[in-house]
């Protein structure tokens, strides 16, 4: 048995009194804390989860504070980090946040599994929402149908061509123009690809192209008049001649002309950005998401241009991110009020400017506030790119399709298959997935 110290009975008695006093003090503190807790916050707490760059977070926090001021009955708890594995676990556990940040291409997979709330009744009953102000392509990306809408996009962009002006100047290559086509792109890539020490290794690549379906594959097929799926999304059509021809040309950047850095499979974006920042790559196609990173790079002279036209047309992919409300949310109306607030013209513009995003409301994207003259990149290009853009085809199992696409095209780049074989295999495997 523990004792505070050996000693006469008097000392033991004092120890006992001390212990009683200590317990009384603890009880008092406990009760005081309990009394404090009685002043309960009567507001409804809603949770929002999002992934935003660190630069944008202060703006987001400020907006949420303003929302709370305007809606005194609501308290908003912000959670950070978008991870779709985590999202699924949250849904299974019955604790998804009331408002969730989603990428457009992920919406269908959750909506088909009945996890998301149909927001169309909210939009239709809200005259001030002005759904017509949004880019039609943004609604296409949200998989809007006549009866359903699961997602309100707040930013979105079409693929543009990032280019390093210093490398272009050094090689004496004129900057990309609006009328560039695939051949112009290829010839610029050839002139910008350099093996400066003749050791057989590329020291400077003309372009960085990934093999992922999102960043490279599909738009090339579209630009050559090819199709990815039939109208009903029951068959993959990438073995049709127009698609095969487009992919042959795209693959030749890797295997025939060797003017590209084939991105590491897992390096999706990371290497490409590093290589571009360090002047090892002259161009790469991507969405507007890199603007924010490059705008902070000191000494880098760069700009964006429209992605070159294909033989049939100019058509690039459009990707957006936005807000969804889970069906499990216990505060759907409050959640909608927050979504509505965040997609209002004022909030959207502030978030877009803070993170160099392109807003999904046409009135904002084309406004003078968004077209800032002081930026070193051409913001008009970002907006014009949307005019010739289309979202990725909405299929339920897009991630699986994407993995199959990448695996088969990898085999072409490494000389283990011809494009024709690869596309045949893609069609067979993807049709199996679509049939599930």
């Amino acid at each position: 048995m523990f004792r505070f110290g050996p000693g006469p009975r008097r000392q033991a008695g004092a120890g006992r009194r001390n212990r009683i006093a200590l317990r009384a003090l603890c009880l008092a503190v406990f009760l005081a804390a309990g009394c404090g807790a009685q002043k309960r916050d009567s507001r409804t707490t809603i949770r929002i989860i999002c992934a935003l760059p660190t630069d944008v977070l202060p703006t987001m926090r400020a907006l949420l504070a303003e929302f709370e001021e305007q809606n005194p009955d609501i308290r908003v708890k912000l959670e950070l980090g978008v991870d779709y594995t985590k999202y699924q676990i949250m849904f299974v556990g019955g604790v998804p946040p009331d408002v969730m940040h989603f990428s457009g291409k992920r919406v269908l997979s959750f909506a088909r599994r009945d996890a998301l709330l149909n927001l169309l009744p909210f939009v239709e009953n809200d005259k001030d929402f002005k759904a017509d102000d949004f880019y039609p392509v943004a609604w296409q990306g949200a998989h809007r149908t006549t009866n359903t809408l699961y997602y309100i996009p707040w930013e979105g962009s079409g693929t543009v061509l990032y280019y390093n002006r210093t490398l272009f100047d050094a090689a004496g290559v004129p900057y990309p123009r609006d009328d560039w086509n695939w051949q112009d792109l290829l010839s610029a890539c050839k002139r910008l690809t350099k093996d400066t020490d003749n050791d057989g290794r590329i020291d400077q690549a003309g372009i960085a192209l990934t093999l992922s379906i999102c960043n490279s594959g599909i738009p090339w097929v579209w630009q050559n008049g090819g199709r990815i799926f039939d109208e009903q999304r029951t068959h993959c059509l990438v073995n049709e001649p127009a698609a095969v021809q487009a992919l042959e040309f795209f693959m030749d950047f890797h295997r025939k002309y060797r003017v590209t850095v084939t991105e590491l499979s897992g390096g999706e974006g990371r290497n490409r950005n590093e290589l571009f920042l360090s002047g090892k790559v002259a161009m790469f196609p991507y969405l507007a998401y890199n603007i924010s990173t490059f705008s902070k790079a000191k000494g880098l002279k760069w700009d964006v241009a429209l992605f070159p036209k294909g033989p049939k047309r100019r058509l690039v992919r459009y990707t957006s991110s936005g807000w969804v409300i889970p069906r499990q949310s216990r505060h759907k109306r409050e959640a909608w009020r927050l979504v509505r607030f965040l997609t209002s013209p004022d909030s959207m513009l502030r978030l877009a400017l803070a993170g160099d995003f392109v807003p999904t409301r046409m009135s904002l994207a084309k406004s003078n506030e968004f077209d800032r003259a002081a930026t070193p990149w051409d913001e008009k290009v970002l907006v014009r790119a949307i005019d010739d853009s289309r979202p990725l085809p909405g299929i339920y199992r897009f991630e699986e399709f994407s993995a199959i696409w990448k695996e088969e095209l990898d085999r072409v780049v490494y000389g283990r298959a011809e494009v024709q074989d690869a596309t045949r295999r893609i069609v067979r495997r993807v049709d199996e997935v679509l049939a599930k």
Partner: protein, 300 residues
């Protein structure tokens, strides 16, 4: 309070048994609370089709049948086994390092720390570093090879080189790790008298190593081999997730990464559970064989 009674007899033995179980109890309770239910759940799920968000549907043995016919699964199992070739290399390297560090040299603690560092460094940092080292155009390895007029391979970007590249990387990351520490501890437990007797008999260094050190390290080697084989079958996920996403052309997809893709990326939780149980059966079988075969070889 520690008893100073006799350390023999049935009552002492009983106390030892109770103490042994008491030490096992926390782990056992932890297993019951946090592992056993998910394990049973995954076994049940392997007989269902479940996309996580909607109600599961009973599928009987369909998931297992599909798995046996899934050519990709067998290819990814092959990838897993090839990547496990790193295990004997790691063990040999760990033993070599342990022998070097066992010498009473100045600064040996410093070197011990240096060699141990990669194994306690966050995996992500190591993988990102090696992605750059292996970059075919601008990476350190190919740059070094170019000094000798050798055009290096495309490493992680070439299906023929991606697995060797990962084996080399894991050799670097693991050779100074726990295996080395275990070997070092085992080396320090070998009675010096044996070496002195051998020296009197005039044996050379190789004979000393072959006939004294190696046999006496038997239990440690057996332990390391068994645990590494188990880990090897379950391995490759982090490398695939961070470095290669299973590519190029699926050449670095391992069973565990395929399991993850099925469960969390594609929503085939039932099929992923079936993969997990087949993997368990494989690991269990190999461990049993290893136990039966390896157990006999141990010198003491």
């Amino acid at each position: 309070m520690i008893s100073r009674g006799k350390r023999t007899g049935p009552s002492w033995r009983r106390r030892e048994v109770v103490a042994g179980y008491a030490f096992l109890l926390p782990n056992f309770l932890g297993f019951l609370a946090f592992v056993s239910l998910p394990v049973l759940f995954s076994l049940t799920l392997s007989f269902f089709e479940w996309d996580i968000l909607t109600a599961p549907h009973f599928a009987g043995l369909r998931n297992y049948g599909k798995l046996l016919a899934d050519a990709k699964f067998w290819y990814y199992l092959y990838n897993t086994v090839v990547l496990m070739l790193a295990i004997p290399l790691q063990m040999a390297a760990s033993l070599g390092l342990a022998i070097l560090l066992d010498k009473k040299l100045r600064g040996v603690v410093f070197f011990r720390t240096i060699y141990f560092l990669p194994s306690i460094t966050a995996g992500v940092a190591i993988y990102l570093l090696w992605m750059w080292i292996y970059n075919p155009s601008f990476g350190l390895v190919n740059y070094a090879l170019s000094w000798f007029r050798i055009v290096g391979p495309r490493w992680l970007e070439d299906p023929a080189w991606s697995k060797p590249a990962l084996i080399i990387m894991s050799l670097w990351a693991q050779m100074g790790g726990v295996n080395m520490i275990l070997y070092l501890a085992a080396l320090q437990n070998i009675p010096p008298g044996l070496y002195e007797a051998a020296a009197v008999d005039g044996v050379n260094a190789w004979q000393r190593f072959r006939h004294i050190t190696l046999p006496l390290l038997g239990p440690t080697t057996f332990f390391i081999l068994t645990t590494n084989l188990i880990r090897g079958f379950q391995g490759g996920f982090e490398m695939a997730y961070i470095m290669t996403q299973g590519g190029p052309a699926g050449s670095t997809t391992t069973v565990s990464y395929y399991l993850f893709q099925n469960a969390f990326e594609w929503g085939y939780m039932g099929y992923a559970s079936a993969i997990a149980w087949v993997l368990f059966a494989l690991v269990f079988g190999v461990t049993m064989i290893n136990w039966k075969w390896g157990g006999r070889k141990i010198a003491y």
